[in-house]
Symmetry: C2
Subunit: 629 residues, 2 copies
């Protein structure tokens, strides 16, 4: 794997990324039933030959980077997987791209130094909808059209679900409608009614279609992006590839400062996952950071600029209305959303209603010409436990609900961003209000953080809230890294944040009773119970770390096949006792049910005693869960 | 701090521990109202002089190790804080200790090599209750006696709660009865009715009294202990001091293999927190690891041995009854509790009911002579998501409820151990059944882990479940480290496990609406909002890590006082905008409430516009939550 070299190369200014299969698994492509031209990427985890279990297929966000048969060239970008599908619909036209200006890369900003090399392979003639056309997946869905994107999603979400013949539901889904089996028609219907979105700009054909919705697997987003203070394009592309390797379903480029345009081009051209941005950040750079100098024209121009590059969803803080701004005056932490504070500042400076709110339908016109999804930003979200669920937050939420309906009126896809800091007892109210206010549009939440007292561990304070709100119905969880509130995440922080959120999303899927979720837990538990250490590592979210931790106590290769663990040592193993229990329960004819220590049972046990003396005594025993007592 | 040297010293075989104040705070002692001889240790965090806020007092488990005025000598042990209180009650007698035998240190075990030096300062004449006496805190409580231990707990739990004049409750406590202010009488009443325990063996006078109960702050336990495979006494004492430094309220010594007796002596003599053990582990060593060779006599002798050393609570797996064992036969992971599997093995081998169950009242006789609390073990807890909430688990739980009442009949304190692996939707059922079956005896849960697929991150998969079950009513959370299922935790793992569980316990206190909990979140949020970086670090659970992470992006000392953060850089800061909002809301006479963009408002705003042009324009702005968009 280039993994090890990557940081060094990045330091040199070259762009090195991590490639090669994830340990213990291989890339596979599953054909869509009835449409073999659409091949869905997955990851197959092979188990020990002896165990008699089939390979486990898991959801794979890592794209071609983990496919040894694909040659990766960051300077060329990824292959345009979806281009044929897009062109085949005959509703788009190529046109001369808007010209790139110095201010697109922040040259009006305070720092005029530096600059990254432009992406060598820029598309000069991007696509847009033909006059009068609407190229959004929602528009197709509402006209009854099942697109290849929808077919891809259906196969991708099913994983090995057809293996679950005798699966019976076990979960509490709080009103979600998760099907036993996902059909392309189900995907179409969910997109048509706005309960799910498939964010994929027609100018980002490199992306592998994925769905964000309460009735699909819970997704996670990773934030990257350079800032005025630190980082460069090489490390950002490396972080992109690194974050999708570990499971990021979408990535947001939150770059600020200079080189915003070029950095984004490098990221999109090399991304197999949807890319989201907050256009107001770049618009602000274009006016030298003076919020009150922002104008609709500059903002609109920025939307076109990013639409042509292929951004898949835009965070638009159109719910930060002038009347709501003073509602934050009594807060402990005021307005902590960057986009929210920019718009609040603009509203105060001009004492006018937000141009994002007033021009919303014009923005929607642009969205539908490129199939960009809205991520309606929660600019007034609470920045502390003290401010959670307050008047300002919910006033904005209900406005987002109103805007959702306006976007849907033009068949444009929408998701809603959710709160940052919320104590556990106030989390469900957020989910319930969002479902009611926004007509079941997908909820996309940050955390939420369940306490403010653990900076340095906010991936965990927020992972707790993320798992809970994911269970309640959130469709996508925006990750938080250990550096939250303290600094910019490095690639180690990105990995910890992604894996933490992946496990939170999975815990949510389990609790919702998602048919495909429990298969992996059960496979890993069987491997653990049978001391198939390799399988246990390979089935985990992070095989590298699992094996490393194991080896810190028991380095020997033999220990990986040993029938004991370091918690108990070679002498003890509770797994052993269970085999004895099973033999006992079997031999004693009535099986485990209805076993009571009755007279009859006593008799049966006396008989068993001899059997045991002969067979069982030499079996050593103990416990595999040593730290648990 | 000796911190840095400690591991080296430990490697040398010497016993080095981390001493010195926790960064940014100082040890204080608060006198119990009306009983100034009882001085309760706390930690005071001083804030920046300019901010006009008083120091924040926080709960402190670290004992004398963080008190610069105390000279620490591991070879001498800690001062016997409680000895006077114990003697003053006049119901104990000193007697000649049971003689130490080779098998006490596992010399009958497989490995006869090695050995640690015995603790130099062993008490030759331990204490026990005089004939006919009962020295349990529950016994005193039921006779209406308020002990110094109860007074200590009351002051310790209140923290700065008297500061909360205008505090109004905000939380969902699921039927807990948390008072606004904790009085010694409240503590007595909770202990009397069995809803809380104060575990403190009369032979462990070094311990600082603490309470475990649903109506007190949620506590956490850290497990340490050497094993047949790894570690030595120096590292275990170091781990003890290290774990309480970061917040462990109790510590369990789960040592196995050789040197069990001597290791435990070193740990207890140097521990200011209650120490728990699983006596069956040592009893098993005494019979060479052959479970079926265990006898009541050997087990009873082990209880006396450990009682005389001062163990504060015993995990007793008396609920693993013969009839329940076959109920585990169909499980994916069978029996994963070590103590549970030992007893299951014994029951199968002899086809007899467990001697722990049959001799329970005799065990209770011993407990009340030393004031040792029961931690009734969940030997049949699930070891995987697949086995959660099954028949075997709940059959045992109801038996633990029956045993609780038998222990209470002799005024012996009890807590109940809870499950290890449970998906989120099945967690609350565990809490509800425990409250009902065990008459509100404190619940002491491991995790629970909410998914099985993240070995290497099980402190997080379990931290999620821990926060939730703590909210629902669990009194103490047993930590899980990143090494769970993979290896033995080193001191870094111990710290991560403790801090993770500390934040989970705090999130639970917040959600329950505990009056003392939110003060710290609010203080930290104000510090964050006002860019008091030092205060933000010092108020956090782990100031060292918070500052380290901050410095990785902005090392300069100046950056710690700068009014911006690395997420946004010097140009942007959303905190700034809020001051403008406040000025605006103030100047505009109607304040934030009732502000609507009406004609009148528009007029007022027009007037404001000029004010703003003069005052506000030069204020730069942006957002402090850059990673959040």
């Amino acid at each position: 794997m280039a993994d090890v070299d990557s940081p060094i190369e990045a330091a040199r200014g070259a762009i090195g990324v991590t490639t090669g299969p994830i340990r213990g698994s291989r890339k596979i492509h599953v054909a869509v039933p009835g449409n073999p031209k659409v091949q869905v990427a997955m990851r197959a985890i092979d188990l020990e030959p002896g165990c008699g279990e089939p390979p486990l297929n898991v959801y794979d966000t890592s794209g071609p980077y983990t496919d040894p048969t694909v040659r990766i060239d960051i300077n060329a970008g990824l292959a345009p997987l979806r281009r044929e599908w897009i062109m085949a619909r005959g509703d788009v036209e190529a046109y001369d791209a808007r010209e790139i200006r110095p201010e697109d890369n922040g040259q009006l900003g305070p720092d005029r130094s530096g600059g990254v090399q432009p992406f060598p392979n820029v598309v000069k003639r991007p696509l847009r909808a033909k006059p009068g056309a609407n190229v959004s997946q929602m528009h197709y869905a509402r006209r009854g059209i099942i697109t290849p994107e929808m077919e891809y999603v259906a196969t991708r979400e099913n994983l090995g679900r057809e293996m679950l013949r005798e699966y019976h539901r076990d979960g509490e889904s709080f009103g979600a409608a998760i099907p036993d089996y996902v059909t392309p028609e189900f995907v179409r219907d969910e997109v048509a009614r706005g309960r799910a979105i498939i964010p994929n700009n027609i100018n980002h054909p490199e992306s592998e279609p994925m769905a964000i919705g309460r009735n699909f697997l819970v997704k996670i987003n990773a934030n990257i992006g350079n800032s005025a203070v630190a980082s460069n394009v090489a490390t950002e592309v490396d972080k992109l590839v690194w974050s999708i390797r570990w499971g990021a379903d979408t990535v947001m480029d939150l770059s600020t400062g200079r080189n915003i345009h070029d950095t984004r081009e490098w990221i999109i051209r090399n991304s197999p996952v949807p890319i989201g941005t907050v256009p107001i950040y770049q618009a602000l750079e274009k006016v030298g950071g003076i919020a009150e100098d922002l104008t609709w024209e500059i903002f609109r121009d920025t939307l076109i600029e990013q639409a042509e590059q292929g951004v898949d969803y835009f965070t638009i803080h159109a719910g930060v209305r002038l009347p709501y701004v003073p509602l934050t005056a009594k807060r402990v932490t005021g307005i902590v959303s960057r986009g929210g504070s920019i718009m609040a500042k603009w509203c105060l400076a001009h004492h006018k209603e937000s141009f994002l709110y007033e021009r919303f339908d014009e923005i929607t016109e642009i969205m539908k010409s490129y199939d960009i999804a809205y991520s309606l930003g929660d600019g007034l979200r609470p920045g502390s436990i003290a401010d959670a669920n307050d008047e300002a937050q919910f006033a904005e939420l209900y406005t987002l609900g109103e805007l959702t309906k306006r976007a849907w009126a033009q068949d444009v896809q929408v998701m809603i961003e959710g709160p940052g800091h919320v104590p556990m007892h106030k989390i469900k109210e957020n989910m319930d209000k969002q479902l009611e206010a926004c007509g079941e549009a997908p909820f996309y939440t940050l955390g939420p953080l369940t306490t403010d007292i653990a900076p340095g561990y906010d991936h965990i304070t927020s992972g707790i809230g993320a798992a809970m709100i994911g269970w309640y119905g959130t469709a996508m969880l925006c990750y938080v890294t250990p550096k939250e509130h303290l600094g910019l995440p490095d690639r180690d922080d990105v990995k910890v944040g992604v894996v933490t959120y992946k496990l939170a999303a999975h815990a949510a899927d389990l609790a919702k009773g998602h048919p495909a979720a429990k298969m992996r837990d059960d496979a890993l538990s069987r491997a653990r119970f049978e001391f198939r250490w390799r399988d246990q590592f390979n089935l985990s979210l992070d095989p590298d770390t699992a094996e490393k931790y194991h080896d810190q106590t028991l380095p020997a290769e033999g220990a990986k096949t040993a029938h004991f663990c370091s918690m108990c040592g070679p002498k003890f193993c509770s797994m052993k006792i269970t085999q004895e229990v099973r033999d006992f329960a079997r031999l004693q004819n009535q099986g485990s049910e209805g076993f009571i220590a009755t007279e009859e049972a006593e008799a049966g046990m006396a008989k068993m005693s001899n059997v045991y003396e002969e067979t069982g005594r030499e079996l050593y025993m103990g416990a595999g869960d040593r730290e648990h007592n």
